[in-house]
């Protein structure tokens, strides 16, 4: 099929050694810590108590509101603790977690065997995907069912299944496509069925020939599913860039892909949807790439959600004390200050970097070389935005388009002055969001005050009316009494 090209991008060293070995299953650790917030949106509301016995796949926390996702028990065992505990988040703030002590039986909750998904109404599919707690496994962790549900009311013509995996080191999607291609394709067919019509394009970077072969073989015979081989260039796996790559169309600024009739799901998400619909199984484990030169052997591990990073590293074997610990890829992942955090639904990789893999360069002034401008896949001018962010000129940064930054890190990667450009943009986005929130609150306050004024006026009027009523009644009574006396007197 005809492909297109997105602008910018960089070519970091692949370091995909972990793709060589097959996926292994992580044995159950002593304890699992399951955070209630593992997705974009409102955190799940706990529905279990301390001391309660839960089965694998049993609901631990239910979704709250329109954009949220439920959380399920990753294995059978006892709830031993509930409270604020460390979880992966760039802020390092604790979040509400449920700790489970596995009983070792790993016994699934009984799920009713579903009918053939291809005969299910599409609303039911979206409902079941929502109930299974499936979120975007590419890293954004947006609740998948929201995308499935919203798509019905829009004109979606193309589903892109993201097998780009452009981040260096990460190979979890690669291994998944090689080993479980049929299951992924089944997931894609379920998504297509839920959409009612349209075609699916599975986009894979050309540095994964085995995955391409496996997926092409699995997709054979389905006319509405095709495999597109995109050139390996970071960030080809980013949503907006991959859409340009495949369709040649750009998602407008501030809009969603659905506005141009495209919807994107990660290959891991397609697999999770397959599990949820075919077997009724909620999302309780995921494939995680454990790599970095501090590890003895880089490879992919299927890990129960809630496994502590320290347990995972111990299982995989550390060669040396890591100089830096990352969750996710080296370009967009977050730095972990300690390994006492659980693997969550969005964890695509855990990287233990050795000393020689970490650069610690001094930041020097911007020389306006413009390399960040050529590297930016979003078509922005990072140096201008950073200059404004540094002086807290958020309005200026916004005018230069900082809200369109996808935080891919290409600019920081090429910057010869080692300026932390992405951090400046993250900072700006946070500040701008805060200002918007405050303006919203100010407007709301004005409405509340107006509502109060109306209420006070109404109450006063009612009071007056009541007083007048009373006075009238009293006057009438007086008159009646006077009439009576008059009648009596003569």
């Amino acid at each position: 099929m005809k492909l297109f090209r997105f602008r910018g991008g960089v070519h970091p060293e692949g370091r995909k050694e972990s793709a060589a070995l097959p996926i292994i299953k992580m044995p159950l650790p002593k304890r699992l810590r399951v955070p209630m917030q593992q997705h974009i949106g409102a955190p799940a509301e706990p529905v279990v108590r301390v001391g309660q016995y839960v089965l694998k796949g049993q609901l631990l926390g239910s979704a709250v509101g329109a954009i949220s996702a439920p959380v399920h028990a990753p294995t059978s065992g006892t709830v031993v603790e509930m409270g604020m505990l460390p979880a992966p988040h760039p802020s390092g703030l604790p979040t509400f977690c449920i700790v489970i002590e596995p009983d070792g039986k790993d016994q699934w909750e009984e799920f009713p065997v579903p009918r053939d998904p291809q005969e299910m109404p599409s609303e039911i599919i979206a409902e079941r995907v929502a109930a299974a707690g499936v979120v975007g496994l590419g890293g954004a962790t947006f609740p998948s069912a929201v995308k499935l549900g919203a798509a019905n009311s829009r004109h979606i013509h193309t589903i892109i299944i993201n097998g780009g995996e452009c981040e260096p080191y990460l190979t979890c999607d690669d291994r998944l496509m090689r080993e479980r291609a049929d299951e992924v394709i089944d997931g894609v067919r379920i998504i297509l069925h839920a959409m009612r019509w349209g075609r699916a394009v599975i986009a894979i970077e050309d540095n994964k020939p085995e995955a391409i072969a496996a997926m092409t073989a699995a997709a054979r015979g389905y006319g509405n599913i095709e495999v597109a081989v995109v050139p390996a260039r970071y960030p080809a796996g980013s949503e907006k860039q991959l859409i340009v790559n495949v369709t040649g169309r750009e998602v407008p600024a501030g809009a969603l892909p659905a506005s141009i009739g495209v919807l994107m799901h990660n290959v891991g998400t397609a697999y999770a949807i397959h599990q949820a619909i075919r077997y009724g199984r909620p999302l309780v484990s995921r494939i995680v790439t454990v790599a970095g030169d501090a590890m003895r052997e880089p490879r992919n591990v299927e890990v129960p959600i809630g496994t502590l990073v320290s347990d995972l590293l111990e299982f995989c074997g550390i060669r040396e004390e890591p100089a830096r610990l990352l969750m996710g890829g080296p370009m967009m992942g977050m730095s972990l200050s300690h390994a006492d955090v659980p693997v969550i639904k969005g964890t695509s990789g855990v990287l233990a970097m050795a000393r020689h893999e970490v650069t610690t360069s001094e930041t020097t002034p911007c020389v306006r070389c413009g390399r960040c401008v050529s590297a930016c896949p979003a078509g922005l001018v990072p140096l201008e935005m950073a200059a404004r962010a540094r002086h807290d000129d958020m309005k200026g940064a916004e005018e230069w388009g900082v809200m369109e930054c996808i935080a891919c890190g290409s600019c920081s990667y090429v910057c010869p002055s080692h300026i932390p450009l992405v951090q400046y943009f993250n900072y700006s986005k946070g500040k701008i969001a805060l200002e918007r929130e405050r303006t919203r609150k100010n407007n709301e306050t004005r409405q509340l005050i107006e509502a109060r004024r109306v209420r006070v006026e109404r109450e006063e009027a009612e009071k007056k009316a009541r007083a007048a009523e009373k006075a009238r009644a009293r006057a009438a009574a007086k008159q009646a009494a006077a009439q009576q006396t008059e009648e009596v007197t003569p």
Binding site: Q37, H89, P90, S91, L93, T95, T363, T364, P365, C366, A386, A387, A389, R390, D392, S417, I419, P420, Q423, Y424, N426, Y427, K429, G430, K431, A433, L434, E435, R438, T439, K441, N442, E444, T445, R446, L448, I449, A451, R452, R455
Partner: protein, 182 residues
């Protein structure tokens, strides 16, 4: 003959000018509009809680003082830095906002063990952010509270206090990079 025609023209135009000028003068006197549009605009920008923390009798007088240039643009604590920035932009004043100590958003909180259910606080609350009933413990709706502090002053048992909003994962945002070059 010729110069009479010319004279008529001059006289007519002059008379017309005088008449219209007079009309305009009279109209400006008769149809004079009270109030400064700038004051109204500023008033619309202020929260309108009439909380009085600025030292003026309410948002209206505060807006007037701002328009006259007799008040500092950072006068409104509930409006915070956001409002100060907007006011500075509207009035064309340059201020170093980073120098202002923004205490961050504040919310009223009720110490339930001291609350006697006197209902005084929710009667003064400009946004109806306190709920309760006589002899029942009152509670603050954090979504509606502006942190104006009106309730703190009326509480007979000092059960009300303003508290900074705790940073949670939902309100956290990235800090500014520490490096100086860029």
């Amino acid at each position: 003959m010729e110069h009479i025609t010319l004279l008529i023209g001059i006289v007519v135009i002059t008379a017309l000018g005088l008449l219209l000028g007079l009309g305009l003068g009279v109209a400006s006197q008769k149809l004079h509009v009270e109030g400064d549009p700038l004051v109204d605009e500023l008033k619309a920008m202020l929260p309108g809680a009439q909380c009085g923390q600025c030292g003026f009798a309410g948002c209206g007088p505060a807006a007037e003082a701002l328009a006259r240039g007799e008040a500092v643009i950072t006068l409104c604590p509930p409006g915070g830095r956001t409002l100060a920035a907007r006011l500075a932009e509207r009035l064309g004043v340059k201020v170093d906002l980073s120098a202002i100590k923004d205490k961050g958003p504040q919310l009223a909180a009720i110490a339930e063990e001291s609350c006697i259910g006197c209902t005084k606080c929710f009667k003064v609350c400009p946004t109806d952010a306190i709920i309760g009933a006589p002899k029942q413990i009152h509670s603050v709706l954090t979504q509606a509270c502006t942190g104006c502090g009106a309730c703190v002053d009326v509480c007979p048992t000092d059960a009300l206090a303003l508290q900074g909003v705790l940073v949670s994962m939902r309100t956290w945002s990235w800090p500014k990079p520490l490096t100086e070059a860029a």
